[in-house]
Symmetry: C2
Subunit: 139 residues, 2 copies
DNA sequence: ATTATTGATACAAGGACTTGCAGTTGCATA
DNA sequence: TATGCAACTGCAAGTCCTTGTATCAATAAT
């Protein structure tokens, strides 16, 4: 179960329980090469323990999201994907023509966040966004 | 059917047909007080002509979105809402604690759009976004 | 005018989540 | 080590939206 120790202890701190399901789900996300979908997580988990339910996966993802351990991104293909915060924060540029996806620095939203705080007193929580548009080649 | 004339003629120009369903759906969106959901559109349309199907509503919304006549926003409450571009472009700040929604100027994203174009050659199409975070009171 | 062709629609089935509920389990405490 | 209970899970049913298919209507070609 690798080095997910910190996250697990954070769960305990906040009064949440550590269950085999949660450990396996967390493991799947942390070991994933790329952004992973709920269905893919379930498939991986079921290799170890077949009777885990998809709703448990969704509920755990919701929890991990709330605790800021995982981010959720909609790439516009009809299913949402998840990513461990430990593997780095970033956003995505999705080309609406060729479908290409390019990663982009998180800092790009800093000016927007500052303006929102100044003008609206709003503390924006912008994490792992997919921005749609047209890439260099396609526009 | 009010002053939807431009939009209807734009449909014709692009080789799309003007059907009663499309007119009624467009009408529902334009006359809506606020951002309206697909289900609400269907209810309104069915007052006039009961046999219209929800899938026609979704397909029409998809078309109007593509033509840039309507924007789609996810306020995070499990259903997406639509808004006529004629009634003004703007974004929303959604408070994750109190649920309050504040409109925000479109121009706030201009610096981001410029940076994306310079650094990535990406022409971002940022329309009608909902940004989550905490409002003045709640943070 | 008659026949293709294309486009739009209703209906039904499917996919991605979400929710209610009854039963199970982790874990604090005795 | 047992026990109490809130937290968690699996299951089934439900919601919102999408897609496949056959049918129907409008325009274009013959």
């Amino acid at each position: 179960m690798a080095k997910s120790g910190e996250i697990l202890s954070k769960l305990t701190e906040q009064g949440y329980r550590i269950t085999p399901q949660r450990m396996m789900i967390l493991d799947a996300i942390e070991n994933a090469e790329d952004h992973i979908s709920a269905e893919e997580i379930l498939t991986l988990v079921c290799l170890q323990y077949p009777n885990v339910n998809i709703s448990t996966v969704y509920r755990t993802l919701e929890l991990l999201k709330q605790l800021g351990m995982v981010t959720e991104t909609d790439f516009g293909d009809g299913r949402v994907r998840y990513h461990s915060i430990k593997k780095g924060r970033h956003h995505h540029l999705v080309c609406q023509k060729c479908g290409g996806i390019v990663d982009m620095e998180e800092s790009i939203f800093n000016p927007v966040k500052e303006t929102l705080l100044e003008q609206y007193g709003f503390d924006a929580d912008i994490h792992h966004m997919a921005i749609f548009g047209y890439c260099k080649k396609c526009r």
